[in-house]
Symmetry: C2
Subunit: 334 residues, 2 copies
Amino acid sequence: MATITDVARLARVSPATVSRVLNGTTDVSPERAERVRQAVAELQYQPFSPARALRRQLTDVWAVIVADIENPFFTSVVRGIEDGAREFGYRVLLCNSDEDVGKEAGYIDVAVGERVGGVVISVASTRQSDLAPLLRLGVPVVAVDRRPVGHLVDSVLVDNRLGARQATAHLIENGARRVACITGPKRLSTANERLAGYKDALAAAGRRFDESLVLREDFRQAGGYDAVRALTSGRPRAHPDALFVANNQMTVGALQALQQQDLDVPGDVKVVGFDDAPWATLTRPQLTVVAQPTYDIGRTAAELLATARAAKGGPREVVLVPKLVVRESSGRPG
Amino acid sequence: MATITDVARLARVSPATVSRVLNGTTDVSPERAERVRQAVAELQYQPFSPARALRRQLTDVWAVIVADIENPFFTSVVRGIEDGAREFGYRVLLCNSDEDVGKEAGYIDVAVGERVGGVVISVASTRQSDLAPLLRLGVPVVAVDRRPVGHLVDSVLVDNRLGARQATAHLIENGARRVACITGPKRLSTANERLAGYKDALAAAGRRFDESLVLREDFRQAGGYDAVRALTSGRPRAHPDALFVANNQMTVGALQALQQQDLDVPGDVKVVGFDDAPWATLTRPQLTVVAQPTYDIGRTAAELLATARAAKGGPREVVLVPKLVVRESSGRPG
DNA sequence: GTGAAAGCGCTAACAC
DNA sequence: GTGTTAGCGCTTTCAC
């Protein structure tokens, strides 16, 4: 591969001049600039990024570390981040922590090693994810979706508690007597906040909180499936007549389990899921969900990251509002 | 941030010795090695990747360039690639070309600039995507899903023609008289191969090929929706009684359009989609699809990439076999 | 406006 | 085993 020296030789100028033409830092005489451009084209020269990064001590790359690249929620957020990054002149290095704190730590090390210009992260664990290596370096970090505790970073969150409260209240209004909550692991703030919102709604309706109706699973499809199997395995009187499922992938699993057991939705069990999906109107019945502003979450994160170095004061926190989208799976009033 | 020199000073050794400890290239006396490790820990030293890449002239990074990060097909492929990459000791830099040859070219330049160790790409265009910058550099490239013409690269493809033929034949066997094909743009080999398979099946059944029953849209949801609207807008006798939809996202749109027009599936219109989805059993009726071995595609690509430098002979091509998964949307025989 | 020269942090060749 | 040294490709003073 050609180097800047090769280009300089061919264009009969110094390497410094080639650099100046490429970066537009100083004026170069038109003729020489033209010679340089020709030489670049002829040699198909492409600057070697590591050399440039070494010299400049920074890169125009952001690392985006998401917990689950297969979850459409995150890919939509990523799209928002990407579009924002492009606008601000950054490239995006996308990493998948796979809900694993260890893998996540590895990618954080990579981000540190690359001296990336910024990091957007949906932490694998609210308490255990360690952002310190980034913060020590002074790399701006924006947390999305999940709240990291003990680290002072900007964040873009959704009012999960509100969304969960609305979902649960809606089920109660529609006549549900025993609403179960299938939520995620304790290590995720989203799981806890959605559970809290569920409790809020019960309390507001004067309902007793029944521990046996709350199940924690991982946020994956199999978790939703297993939860429903467990909830419907005991004596029938103990079964729930409504489900608030706190995550999109678990909702798929939950619906599959209900279907397999010939339980009618919403007749036997009413269902509200979290996060909308393109196919939510294709299921029978159509799925009621708490929709999240996924793309905006990403967009907003990019804006915070781009302005992080200039920002004064403490961490900035943006909380976006989810929206209950009522379809058929949650039944009807009365 | 601490440098290798800082570590060396603190450990009272030379920078070379620190490097040796970190990379395990040569034996270092136990005591000195221990001192180095302590210094590394104390300073929280993290090697600066660009400096290392500059010196070594290569990186342990693969670029994975996918056409649409929001398409679950690709994210599943990516998971396969990632798992393979990890096994072979590579990190994955994920890029989203957004079905745009221009953005794709930008990421190819990035890959060249970074001198990545390999590239896995699902090209944005069979003919227009330009892999030459990579090949000139000698970077191993593996194409997945879509076939790039005019470039000698390894590839992992699916037998789209076979899958499409099976899908269409199945619809015909189930009594469809007018099978429409909603496929993708001409620039994508997958779109063309699936159309070819559709034609194969018609021919094998002795059916006349009717141009008006073939629609090309982009591979996105709105495309499927628009196609169905178009197909059902003319005089009823011209409407199809079956649809072969050549892509997962378009299938969602197509089903939505059918639903909106109160067309019964499979009564009025039988449907087979391409690529399976977790929610395919939740729709009413359950969706018949041609399932692709997504994860294996990625896995296989990683294996080809890891062994590319050692491989002799011409380009290697692996063709995986899709599988028709019959559910309800395609009707019943007779 | 331009070139010479230094140096970013790291590793590998070479001495000892 | 270990330290010294050179140099990867680039940008940025500093002279002129």
